[in-house]
Amino acid sequence: MSYSILLEESIMQKGIYATAGSKMLANFTAPISAAVADSLEAGGMQIAGRAKMSEFGASGLYDDSPCTLLTEAVNAFCSDKNDAILCNDYTGTIAANAARRGLCYIHPTYGTVSRYGLIPAVCSMDQIGVLCKVPSVGFEILAIIAGYDARDGAMLPSANDGGGRTVGFNNNDGGDKRTADTRRTAALPVISVAKMPLYAEIYRQITQILCSAELSGNISRYDGIKFGYAAKDYSDLRELYTKSRTEAFGEDLKLSALIGAMVLGAMCYEKYYDKAMRLRRVIKESVCWDGFDVLRYIHDADGKDAIVFAIFSRLCGLPSLSVQECTYVADAGNEHALSMIAVADEQ
């Protein structure tokens, strides 16, 4: 079936503006088309336009500011104009808000959907997912956009390859082509119910530290010189940098640049960035998939805790599905289990 799909403003389509929700890129026209845009077209889907997003998708990282993309989604879906929005929800904010608003968000395994043509925010968590009304539709779309792409150097190889990712080399060598596939079993997945983790607040802090650090690096290319916004009046280079960035970046981005520079600085690296990385590893290694396929966390009535397992899945690079009542998380590459549960729930 052909669905009508919106792309958030950080997913590039050649010749069309790609702002990443920022004044900095208000006049930036994409030089290429994202891999997912090509896949959608090849898969017979209809790209219906752009969906407005918060600046570099960073809202919700430091506070509970409203989620721009969700407002877009509610409008688009309620009028039945569109079926899904593709976006990069590295903070988990979109997933959590989707659950609260009765929508659903599918976050795929890290490295299964090509990031070629996605304006980078936080490379270790950047992952294009599907925001939609009905999970089964989302999984259909995910099947179209997922798959190995040699142009993204950090993709997941096939699941039966003994785990571990393979580095993608550039065309000088034509690195081996692999296709990511998901484990398929006929049996219904076994679900284990998860409790609120003891250190949920730490998840959030780790995300803040890592996201700020990587964002600060990824947005340092926007300097007012080559492309994007440039301040009008300046007397020297430093003032051009400072004014352009001051005038074009919003509060969340400024905060990211400042916190990022701090946590990566020689004085704080070990205390913040390195510690966050180590804790992330501990959390990753603490997950054990013995005897069950899917973790289910049931949200509180107000859904304020929906973000916790969304963050957990992003820190660990695991696939997750956020719906109204709960968040499901599965092992890497096991989107199939999530889709089986979702389809069973729908029926």
Partner: protein, 485 residues
């Protein structure tokens, strides 16, 4: 001397890859400004970095050549700083897990003066070698008082070879750089052209009293790209340190300095250019790369015989003169020609003479350097054999070589078509000699009166008469016999 100079080097060498380190743009030097640029190396968002595998292979080669430990797993990191020549605002480098560690290179210790003929060597130890991307180039336009950026060099792969503070004299530094250049150009790791910036170095320098364990205050002279300037800069800077220590004329501070070649002095760089906090962190866009034994062995198999080993072989085993051996072993192309021709002719000394005496003369006449000579080695070998077998004389051989070099002719056909085969038929030579003697009766008389030097003139006349094809040995013998009777 009361003082000891202690130096360490950071040498940047551009790798000879076809394409850049993280995209497919050409890495060739000398293109029009911003010709070799794509959205990725121009720093536009949305283009994931893809590692050039060949650059890693050349990094491995550098490790093998410098006797380094090659890391099993390497990673890439981001080094953050704002500068207009850096389009992404960060440089991708190897901060946490460099490709090579603990290497060493032996250099000839200049002025050491060892016993007998042995030249004493000094071992320079290396801390590490890492791979990183180059930055773009700023072009200052004084007329319009503006600065333009050329991104051709952006993301061209480099290795930085970091030595320990093992140098004490400028001679050692120069010898080390020459040795590095020899090793790396020979193996095709880099062309190491200092004037084009594909080899440049930073020198860390400090001075202490002899016998003192603690190092003195260290300054760094950045971006040196000429051996001559390096030697001068070291002399100047070490003297500045010594003066400061002796007279207290100025207080030495840890700082980065720039060499002004015209003034012959170093100057402290502006505060802003001094050590920054680069906020290094692992680049999550590039996954760790595993270098297994097979990869290292593959690279090793492609490496040619190192120049110094070749030199040893030519001088010691094959007994060639030192000068000739050096000329051949220092050029990978001449080495290749030498090896290939020797394989056919199996007379190394002859082959070396032909290369040094004839081939280089022919090529330089055509304005072609040794490294660029392109000659069919079996044709070259054929010429040497024909001369050796007495089928043509050496002068004709050289003529044919020029034809093979310039017009790629088949030597045997060319000799036949132009009737260049050596004339060694006694009858033909005798009549030619008789004619020459008759035409030059005055000269003959001079000879008979004791003037030996006119003999050569007569030989020349005979050669001329035979179109340069006569066997010179026979001409000598017959002439001697006939002139005396």
């Amino acid at each position: 001397m009361k003082y000891e100079v202690v130096m360490g080097l950071e040498v940047h060498v551009e790798l000879s890859t076809q394409s850049k380190l993280f995209c497919s743009c050409s890495a060739k030097f000398g293109a029009e400004a911003n010709e070799n640029v794509c959205p990725a190396c121009a720093g536009m968002p949305g283009m994931p970095a893809l590692v050039n595998k060949n650059a890693v292979s050349l990094g491995i080669a550098a490790g093998i050549l410098t006797n380094s430990d090659i890391s099993e797993v390497i990673t890439f990191d981001k080094k953050n700083y704002f500068y207009p020549d850096l389009p992404t605002g960060y440089q991708i480098t190897q901060w946490f897990a460099p490709i090579c560690k603990n290497g060493w290179i032996d250099i000839e210790a200049v002025g050491g003066g060892g016993a007998d003929d042995t030249i004493p060597t000094k071992r320079i130890t290396l801390k590490q070698i890492h791979i990183e991307e180059d930055a773009g180039k700023l072009v200052h336009e004084p007329r319009t008082r503006s600065t333009l950026v050329d991104f051709n060099r952006t993301s061209v792969p480099l290795i930085e070879i970091v030595s320990n503070p093992d140098f004490n004299t400028s001679g050692e530094v120069v010898a080390y750089l020459e040795k590095l250049r020899l090793l790396l150009t020979f193996a095709g790791v880099s062309d190491c052209k200092m004037q084009e910036g594909s080899m440049r170095c930073d020198i860390n320098i400090s001075v202490r009293e002899k016998g003192c364990k603690k190092l003195g205050t260290r300054t760094e002279i950045k971006n040196m790209n000429s051996l001559k300037a390096i030697a001068r800069a070291i002399e100047y800077e070490s003297q500045r340190h010594i003066d400061a220590l002796e007279t207290g004329s100025e207080e030495l501070v840890v700082e980065t300095r720039r060499w002004d070649d015209t003034l012959g002095m170093t100057f402290a760089m502006r505060e802003k250019e001094q050590a920054e906090d680069y906020r290094y962190f692992p680049n999550p866009e590039i996954l760790p790369i595993r270098i297994d034994k097979a990869w290292i062995e593959d690279v090793r198999a492609t490496l040619p015989e190192p120049a110094h080993e070749k030199y040893e072989r030519l001088t010691k085993t094959l007994g060639l003169p030192e000068h000739d051996s050096r000329l051949i072993s220092e050029s990978q192309n001449l080495s290749r020609i030498f090896d290939a021709v020797t394989k056919i002719v199996n007379k190394p000394k002859d082959v070396s003479n032909w290369i040094i005496g004839e081939l280089l003369a022919v090529s330089s006449g055509a304005g072609v350097e040794g490294d660029e000579i392109d000659i069919n080695v079996s044709d070259f070998a054929k010429i040497i054999m024909l001369v050796d077998e007495g089928k043509i004389n050496r002068a004709v051989g050289k003529k044919v070589l020029a034809q093979v070099f310039e017009n790629k002719v088949n030597p045997e056909e060319y000799i036949k078509d132009n009737s260049l085969a050596m004339v060694s038929d006694t009858g033909t030579l005798e009549s030619a000699i008789a004619a020459v003697l008759k035409e030059n009766d005055k000269t003959v008389a001079e000879y008979k009166n004791g003037s030996q030097k006119v003999f050569g003139f007569l030989v020349g006349q005979i050669m001329k008469k035979t179109g340069g094809k006569a066997d010179p040995r026979m001409v000598n013998e017959l002439l001697k016999k006939m002139i005396e009777t």
